[in-house]
Subunit: 295 residues, 2 copies
């Protein structure tokens, strides 16, 4: 197993890259803008890897959207305009070395499991959108559009027709709904959380609507899987009790009498995906043993 | 790996037992009433095993309720009045041989994965209650109260307060709600399905309410895990399009634009749990390799 990896997390606006060791220490961190076309993207990633890598380092690259790990394909990214891009093959050709290719949210979940919160968990980044990734029995689960919970249909809290979950519960959706309701422009969900902390009833209501919509989707996973901790990442991770209180209540309401899972903040912050790219490339997991039910 | 197992499925009213081979063939099938006290239960299981077992056979016993496979404990069965019964230890002492101990629904899921529908799946028996068990990456997942989705809280379709999912969507709940609505006593959900097949609007409405309540819980699992097939077992498995049509619609409504998972009937019928007890005892799984995401 390589002791270091060069890790690259391709985001909607920024590529984050660095060199990660087996304890999760990140060095030589870099940020560059994400190019809009594929040849320029491959060149940008290649330049970063050549700059950062030492001989023997593994290389891990993760991207957003719908990812097929088995074929190394970026199947779909609406934000970046990708469809069926064989990105791993393109990178291997450019670099002349092996590349581990994966999904940014599943990478973040792995990093939280190995170096952050620890153990099995349901990682739920709540930012511009909402996604989820599951670490179960020590391994990241799912591929393709697994984890795209932000597109689940929920009731519009304003009484209109059905809407997608992330329009109500994402950080972006919360900021937008608060601005519409309070008639005040806000600079993201942080401002809504701050207002709720100060007792602003519109902010409390908008955060409550969001967590009422998000809670059942998470509770249903817990009912099926057992009490796996829910690890909230992204922009709302720092929201404190104004976010976590209503979310716990909504989960408990759906679960009924069962003990609710813990709902906790992610530990690794915005570099979790990059760290996870390194963890994937080094072949790390929480548990090497297969641990399904073996009665 | 043993080539045969004696398999025992302890139900609320009946114990089913038999001898299972590695291809899922069941021979020497037996049914006896389930005793109400633990010493009599241990004796009844012991008698069945001594009668059915050949030298070298594995022994598998599965029970309903909340089961801790790791300690071999029947943690809770409301129907059978159990709490924290160290059943595996009691059986090992009685039989003087190894016993594999597990959960009836997780056993049914394993049997469907190994010998029935095949592969990864979400097994959802809908009968007196509603439960679920997941086979993911070739292994049964979860322990304890994992899978107790019947106790999720849903809106009362009659407009009352929140109710538990199984009061609306279980076979028993469907029969009860139809009887109340149509003013006709019915002998279980089969009669409601038959009425719906014949165009009875009350039956169609009651089945629709049930599947509208069940669908989102299953859709949420699919959104998280990816398109794992949903395998409906129990009393509603034979419900045909009067059940599967509304269930597919409810799942699709919650999932939004994604391709819905297949919703199909279980293949193994009421002996799935017994077969699965044998599969557990023989150490069978769909996949021996660990297959979490390895990009």
């Amino acid at each position: 197993m390589p002791a270091h990896a060069v890790a690259v997390d391709v985001g909607g606006t920024t590529i984050k890259a660095g060199r990660v060791d087996a304890t999760g220490q990140l060095t030589r961190a870099r940020r560059v803008p994400t190019p809009r076309d594929i040849p320029a993207l491959v060149e940008a990633i290649g330049t970063l890897v050549r700059e950062l890598a030492e001989p023997g380092d593994a290389v891990g690259v993760v991207v957003p959207g719908i990812v097929d790990e088995a074929t190394g394909t970026a199947v779909l990214s609406v934000n970046l305009g990708w469809r069926d891009v064989p990105l791993r093959t393109l990178l291997v050709e450019d670099l002349g070395r092996d590349v581990t290719f994966g999904h940014d949210v599943r990478a973040g979940a792995l990093a939280e499991s190995v170096w952050g919160v620890g153990g099995d968990l349901l990682f739920v980044p709540v930012g511009t959108g909402i996604a989820a990734a599951l670490v179960l029995d020590g391994r990241v689960r799912g591929t393709g559009w697994a984890g795209e919970i932000g597109m689940l249909t929920v009731s519009d809290p304003d009484g209109g027709g059905p809407v997608v979950l992330e329009s109500v519960a994402s950080a972006a959706g919360i900021a937008r709904r608060y601005a519409a309701r309070a008639g005040v422009a806000v600079d993201g969900a942080d401002a809504v959380v701050e207002a709720a902390d100060g007792g602003d009833l519109d902010a409390i209501a908008v955060l409550g609507d969001g967590m009422d919509a998000l809670g059942p989707a998470l509770a249903d996973a817990v009912a099926l899987l057992g009490p796996v901790p829910i690890v909230v990442g992204g922009g709302l991770a720092g929201g404190g009790e104004s976010v976590f209180g209503p979310l716990r209540e909504a989960i408990t309401r759906r679960l009924g009498e069962r003990p609710a899972s813990g709902v906790i903040a992610a530990r690794l912050g915005p570099w979790a995906g990059c760290l996870g790219a390194g963890a994937f490339a080094m072949g790390l997991s929480t548990s090497w043993a297969e641990e399904g039910v073996e009665p």
